[in-house]
């Protein structure tokens, strides 16, 4: 009987090994999520310094009668410097530079928005929360250690003492970082936002959808309902299955070589990115849509044909309405994949530094994943936070899209 107990022990062993393998796979999901959420949460908070701001008419180059366009295009760097000097009196030049570094370099944009919002503010004094520079922000958040030698710190002793005195006066505070959602990219982590990349991805997905959904749906109708099995159909079928497994970077090369190189489309625009993503998504949509067409029982078709409908009428009036939820589910899942694809965007140039928020599919832009890649290549700690926050946002979108797909499948799909 030792033989049987040995066999039973082997049985148990095998089961536990398999269970361990599954738990290890689950463990990876947890680790990945934890790591991203702990590094990224800081990006949603920014540190501000309270200061009294006098909009000095002598320093500002525009007046309250200038047009909004002119106000938006004027530089306010001198005003920003003036305000820092006013708030920290008696600084020599060297110390002024150090103190100015504690405020964000893009302070003048904050002032510009204020003036553009209400030009009558020129000549008045208000209290304003000015965003601190990224290095100061990281010190306040505790991501940079304070107790290392001065040479290893980005903030030196003098700046630390200024920070502490500001903190003692209650001027340092943390607010929700709205800029992350309303700004385009920036060289400074504290002002860098995701909106530009988000709009880039939005336009690309719009193009991707308007190409891949109609073409995919119609192609699946042809392959499933109209064509007779034969050599050509087999070829198309193998071809579509292969396209679904072609590496995404190869699609990127197609975009670069064909769309940009041969057809002369512009570089780094969502139009080309979206088309390439559309090519990639097409097989996914065709495969899903064919499966849902196949699940419509033949009795529906036969009933329509029996009362005298033509083939086209049968398909368009009866089969497609029943299979549409399935096709939509497949499309949304395909679009979610497309949203996360980075390599094709790299190939068509959607990885450049773009400050402006794109206003259409023909404006230079980055996409959400390529922005994440760009930020991850930057050395500063502030961008590390942004990268993780960008990933959180991207994952949020993916989860939402997949949830919508599941809901459509549950609510609308007819079971036969």
């Amino acid at each position: 009987m030792t033989d049987l107990s040995k066999r039973l022990a082997a049985e148990k062993r095998f089961k536990y090994i398999a269970m361990f393998a599954m738990c290890l796979s689950l463990f990876f999901v947890v680790i990945l999520m934890l790591k991203i959420f702990t590094t990224g949460s800081g990006a949603f908070i920014r540190t501000t310094i309270e200061a009294s701001v006098y909009f000095d008419p002598n320093t500002i180059e525009v007046t309250n009668e200038s047009s909004i366009k002119a106000i938006k295009k004027t530089s306010y760097v001198n005003l920003a410097d003036q305000i820092v000097k006013d708030n920290h009196p008696n600084l020599n030049d060297e110390k002024f530079i150090l103190v100015r570094e504690m405020y964000t370099r893009k302070f003048d944009f904050q002032l510009r928005d204020y003036i553009a919002n209400d030009p009558n503010i020129i000549g008045k004094t208000i209290l304003m929360d000015i965003t601190a520079s990224s290095d100061l922000d990281q010190i306040v958040k505790g991501n940079y250690p304070r107790d290392v030698p001065e040479a290893q710190r980005k903030i030196n002793d003098y700046q630390l003492s200024v920070l502490d005195s500001l903190d003692a006066d209650g001027k340092i505070s943390s607010t929700f970082n709205l800029w992350f959602f309303t700004n385009g990219d920036s060289r400074d982590p504290e002002t860098a936002g995701i909106l530009g990349a988000l709009m880039g991805s939005f336009y690309a997905l719009l193009i991707c959808f308007s190409f891949a959904f109609p073409v995919g749906l119609l192609a699946s109708i042809y392959l499933e309902e109209f064509v007779r099995p034969g050599k050509l159909t087999d070829f198309i079928e193998v071809n579509i299955n292969n396209l679904a497994a072609v590496p995404s970077i190869v699609y990127g090369l197609l975009g670069l070589g064909m769309l940009i190189g041969v057809f002369g489309m512009p570089y780094q625009v969502p139009l080309v990115g979206g088309l390439v993503l559309g090519f990639m998504t097409l097989p996914t949509i065709i495969i899903a849509s064919r499966a849902s067409l196949r699940s419509v029982p033949p009795s529906i078709r036969e009933a329509a044909l029996a009362v005298g409908a033509t083939k086209t009428q049968t398909v368009f009036h009866h089969v497609i309405p029943l299979s549409l939820p399935g096709s939509l589910t497949g499309t949304i899942i395909g679009m979610a994949q497309a949203l996360g694809e980075t390599a094709p965007l790299l190939m068509v140039g959607m990885v450049a530094f773009v400050m402006d928020i794109p206003g259409g599919a023909l404006d230079p832009a980055t996409g959400l994943p390529s922005q994440i890649y760009l930020w991850s290549e930057s050395a500063e700690r502030g961008f590390l936070e942004k990268t993780s926050a960008g990933i959180m946002l991207l994952l949020g979108f993916l989860i939402t899209m997949n949830t919508i797909a599941v809901i459509i499948r549950r609510k609308l799909e007819v079971k036969w």
């Binding site: 082997a10 599954m22 796979s25 295009k73 072609v246 590496p247 995404s248 057809f263 949203l339 890649y373």
Partner: protein, 478 residues
């Protein structure tokens, strides 16, 4: 503006759908004639007659707009020496004029300091050209909209005039529909050909600079050597010979993919076995979607994770036991890639294992085999072909994966099979050669297409083999 005109076309065609339908109905009701098709079809007929020419013309105008602009702006009257300009200079001036045209007609009060300075720096003829261009853009926009109001209306009236009881709209409409759906399914083939030809043409251009044999059999990869020595001699042939050696990229790709498969195959297969054979329905319903989350995570996230956490961790562990580990080791990239591929292997294998008929399991149990013996000796051999297919797809996925290796693997080619050393891959080098200036006349850019072609062929062979194996296997148990 151009999108407004497209929208107009659609709105007008929608409107004419009702006019066409109405006219057909009038024919029957008022004139007591019998129609040969349902009234709807006369509406569709009108829509088709409007949409097909209008959309073709719209595309034509969209594609050639910049050509029209250039013809309009770059006239020898403004720029007398235009015949002597190179293409890049023409492009540069065209860009400048386009930028100027946005501000040239603005009132003084709306100009910023920057606008004023570019206006001041522009030459007289550039300013005139910019004014012309601004005028042209304005007229072009309005002409476009007018055209796409007049054209659909005209076509719509012609179509409605053509509607009569003798016209049988149904076969015409159905034939157009059948052409459209047929065309859509050929797009999939067109994409494959598009990939193939765009890769092969540029790859041929690349092999004009670099010998075929040098590329595939040379062991040194150093594309920065490919620079022009001087204008007359072009590229240094000797340097080119040693610049593009494919072998270290291939070994790097194989090394990283092997590490990934060592992680993904056992974990993925065992997970699939547990989920398909052991797990209760409840555990399965919870665990399966969670593992599939891994498949939905974008690869840029894995790359970030590998570069930020995994690589330093492996380096620390290695150094604590006295092993020298590179910060960009093949191991870190391979491990992250392996985790990415687990759900891919597990869900494909899961399907395959579930497809094995229960009668085979019951037969084994009846002979007294335990569950694990049944799995190992009956289920897995029966499912072997399908599982192999899923492995092949997983390998194809691993060698084509880009972002993880771009972010976590090295850029420097290194001919090694030691996973603790840095290694580079085909996809990494494609990305590096295309980041920065893209010049279609430089082997440094063109090599991306040669690498892409090799990658495409490698994955094509793996994919087609996998698809055929899985297809054959399905037929066996269907």
């Amino acid at each position: 503006m151009v999108y407004v005109s497209l929208l107009l076309v659609f709105l007008l065609s929608y409107f004419f759908y009702f006019i066409g339908k109405k006219r057909a109905l009038n024919l029957t009701i008022q004139q007591k004639q019998t129609l040969t098709a349902l009234p709807d079809y006369y509406g569709y007929y009108t829509v088709i007659i409007i949409l097909i020419p209008a959309i073709l013309i719209w595309f034509f105008l969209l594609i050639f707009k910049s050509n029209f602009q250039e013809i309009f702006v770059m006239s020898p009257l403004l720029f007398p020496d235009i015949e002597m300009w190179s293409a890049s200079k023409t492009g540069l001036i065209m860009n400048k004029v386009t930028n100027l045209s946005h501000v040239v007609n603005l009132p003084e009060i709306d100009l910023s300091v920057g606008d004023k300075s570019i206006l001041k720096m522009a030459s007289e003829s550039e300013l005139i050209a910019a004014k012309n261009l601004a005028g042209f853009d304005k007229i072009y926009g309005w002409a476009n909209i007018t055209l796409f109001i007049i054209l659909p209306v005209l076509l719509g009236f012609i179509a409605t005039r053509m509607i009569s009881t003798k016209l049988n709209a149904q076969p015409i409409v159905e034939r157009v529909i059948s052409y459209v759906i047929k065309g859509s399914s050929y797009i999939a083939i067109l994409i494959t050909f598009g990939i193939f030809f765009s890769l092969i043409f540029e790859a041929i251009n690349f092999f004009r600079y670099v010998n075929f044999i040098d590329f595939f059999f040379n062991t040194s990869w150093n594309p920065n050597r490919a620079f022009v020595i001087n204008a007359t001699e072009g590229f240094d042939q000797e340097a080119l010979k040693d610049a593009f050696g494919f072998v270290p990229l291939l070994t790097g790709t194989i090394l990283i993919a092997t590490v990934a498969m060592i992680v993904a195959i056992p974990l993925g297969l065992l997970t699939a076995i547990y989920l398909a054979e052991y797990a209760s329905t409840r555990v399965r319903n919870i665990a399966k979607p969670i593992i599939e989350i891994l498949a939905g995570i974008p690869t840029v996230v894995y790359g970030f994770f590998a570069a930020l956490s995994l690589a330093p961790f492996i380096k620390d562990v290695g150094e604590s036991v006295g092993l020298p580990v590179s910060a960009e080791s093949a191991l870190a990239a391979g491990l992250a890639m392996g985790v990415m591929i687990i759900p891919f292997v597990s869900s494909l294998s899961d399907d395959v294992i579930k497809a094995v008929p229960n009668s085979l399991r019951d037969g084994a149990y009846a002979l007294g085999a335990t569950k694990s013996e049944t799995i190992k000796k009956v289920v897995l051999p029966a499912a072997l072909a399908g599982i192999m297919g899923s492995f092949l797809l997983a390998i194809s996925r691993a060698i084509g994966e880009t972002m993880i290796v771009v972010m976590a693997a090295s850029l420097r080619a290194n001919l090694t099979f030691n996973p603790l050393e840095p290694a580079t891959t085909i996809t990494t080098q494609i990305v590096t050669s295309l980041i920065g200036d893209v010049e279609f006349d430089n082997p440094k850019t063109l090599v991306a297409f040669a690498l892409g072609l090799t990658l495409f062929i490698m994955t094509l062979i793996l994919n087609v083999a996998a698809i055929l194996i899985v297809k054959k296997y399905r037929e066996k148990y269907d």
